[in-house]
Amino acid sequence: MRSDRNVLVLGAICGATLTLCGHGSPTAAQELAISCGAVGQELALCQEGVAAWSEQSGVPVTVVSTPNSSSERLALYQQILASGSGDIDVYQVDVIWPGILGTHFVDLGADFDEEVMSAYFPSLVQNNTVNGELKMIPWFTDVGLLYYRADLLEQYGHEPPTTWEELTAAAEEIQAAERAAGNSRMQGLVFQGNAYEGLTCNALEWVYSYGGGTIVDEAGEVTINNPEAVAALDEAAGWIGTISPQGVLAYQEEEARGVFQAGHSVFMRNWPYAWALANADDSPVKDKVGVVALPKGGADGQRTGVLGGWNLAVSKYSDMQEEAVELVAYLTSYEEQKRRAIEGAYNPTITALYEDPQVLDANPFFGELYDTFVNAVARPSSVTGTRYNQVSTEFWNAVHATLNGTVTAEQSLAQLERRLDRLARNW
């Protein structure tokens, strides 16, 4: 009786197998596959763009969604690429991956000559060039910005800060006054302080704004151990427990936004995405938020922001490289980037789009962003090649330890220099 039932169950499973599993290489012959975005608006926008090209060229394209978390996405890409698989033809690639994944991508220099590329932000083009080969085309970009509570600054008679020192002073004052007024959770500044890539972005902004360089310079020399960098980290370490809660050392983008958007912080360092959300109808701080370039370090410093964003690259193992390149050209074109900027507020990588009236109409704050993009600083990912993740990990660990108060900025940067010098032999 019992075994009869088991046989039945097994039979049902096998039946289900036929219908459920089928078989499926996702890319049948003569079909392109592109990986773009995770499920959500990002994917929908990509699908629309891809569908338009597909209709125009007659080449069928499958869109593959990949994890939202960029480290998961990188791991998946590495697995597929390392096996030499052509299952995905076009990859959406983070700005810090050209060195890590570059060997698996074709050189696009021939199809996108200097004239074409001169329309894009030069810092992005430079970032995407590894050993003279253009590995990927900038698709949309991101930069670190300072968000502030315009209502609070006005109330206490402050202008948006231009130096970190001004920011610290304003934050201290407003935080104390608001807490005294009964708003016990008020914080001065929130940022991304968790030990992860986001902290590298934040800390590089501090260091660079003080004139402390970019950890590793363009020639591949480790430059991080300098007095300016020490000053920058000392300043930041002073925030913890005063204008920033200790918990900020576990914050990523969304935690920072959560605190700021609930009205519990005067300042926030974040990416442009937070703008639309902070001004959404259900946001407690709607219409009370301003955005400006990050402050400079001291009077001689420079205002900057770290470059983020995504690019498109074509796999070496693709059977349809020609079509893949065409798809990349279409998706990164002026018109398509314009559509994405208007419909999804994705920051274009083509400079002229920041003067396009229709784009500005849809996103008024893009005009202010332009200068920030021009002055933006890239992480040293091209020069450090496959070692970038190691460099970044060493850097954020050193910064995290400094912010935590375990070591002083001076000690931790000296130690960081030694560790990076050892790595430097391999890039």
């Binding site: 990188l74 900020v248 576990a250």
Partner: protein, 299 residues
């Protein structure tokens, strides 16, 4: 008679291997190749950027590992995590199993309830706890403030000491059900007559527990502990989602993943993974020797 015995033994031996074959074939297929490959790669300088261009480097990777303070830190973190969380889980699991073994109203509900933590995908529950542990808008601080346990919100995930405690708390929450269920199954297969005798003799329930239940339960309990320990020593997803690559809570598996994936250093990462295997093997042998599981004479 003796002849019949050997005939029978031979038949049983034949069927033993017959019964074992399907499992051995499947395990060889899914485990044999991947494991052999990892061990082989640990003696090379393979890099993910170009796996083919690798060279044999002998024990170099292991030498580097032995001198890397970050590795030893992760070993210590893992061992600490394992010992603390498995101990708590065992005691708690045993208590829950004993409670569920009793007859009371709402038992079915409770049994379903304790499985919920185990049933939520780790990827999600770890994120959920991250959210709940937030210092400004997290519900845990909210409750602690409300009850009066603290006057200042705690930075659960940022403070180096608290972050390990937070990870252990979540792991206990998540895996105690596993323990409780295995122990419960063991309890239910115990012969009832021992208890009857104990009850008739008027033995105190606590004494019965230590003298009768625990010794009888030992095989099931040990297997549950072994598998929890193996899992804890390989701990990856929960800590990774909650804390990422932070050195304060980095486990051996996270260290290996960082080398293998983030740093693309397949050779070195494989060596780390192989060492994880060896450390776990040593642990297991100690456990099994101490517990006397798998000894020949028992069958």
């Amino acid at each position: 008679m003796a002849r019949r015995e050997t005939e029978l033994t031979r038949q049983r031996l034949r069927s033993a291997w017959l019964f074992l074959t399907p499992m051995i074939v499947v395990l060889l297929m899914v485990a044999g190749w991947p494991l052999a490959r990892t061990i082989a790669l640990s003696f090379t300088d393979a890099n993910l950027a170009d796996l083919q261009a690798r060279q044999f480097v002998g024990l170099l990777n292991y030498e580097f590992l032995m001198t890397d303070p970050d590795w030893w830190r992760s070993v210590w973190n893992t061992v600490f995590f394992t010992v603390v969380s498995v101990s708590i889980e065992t005691v708690l699991g045993l208590m829950i199993a004993l409670a569920l073994h009793e007859h009371f109203k709402g038992r079915g509900l409770l049994r379903a309830a304790i499985l919920i933590p185990w049933a939520i995908p780790t990827v999600v529950s770890a994120q959920m706890w991250r959210w709940m542990f937030n210092d400004v808008y997290g519900v845990i601080n909210e409750i602690m403030l409300f009850v009066g346990l603290t006057s200042e919100p705690w930075a659960w995930l940022a403070d180096p000491q608290l972050s390990m405690a937070a990870v252990i708390a979540v792991d206990v929450w998540k895996t105690t059900p596993f323990m409780a269920l295995l122990i419960l199954a063991g309890l239910q297969m115990l012969p009832q007559d021992c208890y009857e005798n104990a009850r008739i003799d008027g033995v105190h329930p606590v004494t019965t527990f230590f003298r009768v239940t625990l010794p009888l339960l030992k095989p099931a309990l040990l297997v549950a502990i072994i598998f929890r320990t193996l899992d804890a020593l390989r701990m990856f997803d929960l800590v990774y989602v909650m804390q990422g690559n932070k050195v304060d809570t980095m486990t051996m598996s996270i260290y290996a993943r960082q080398q293998l994936v983030d740093f693309q250093d397949v050779g070195y990462g494989s060596a780390a993974a192989t060492l994880v295997f060896m450390i776990i093997a040593v642990f297991t042998v100690i456990y099994l020797t101490a517990g006397g599981v798998g000894r020949e004479e028992k069958a």
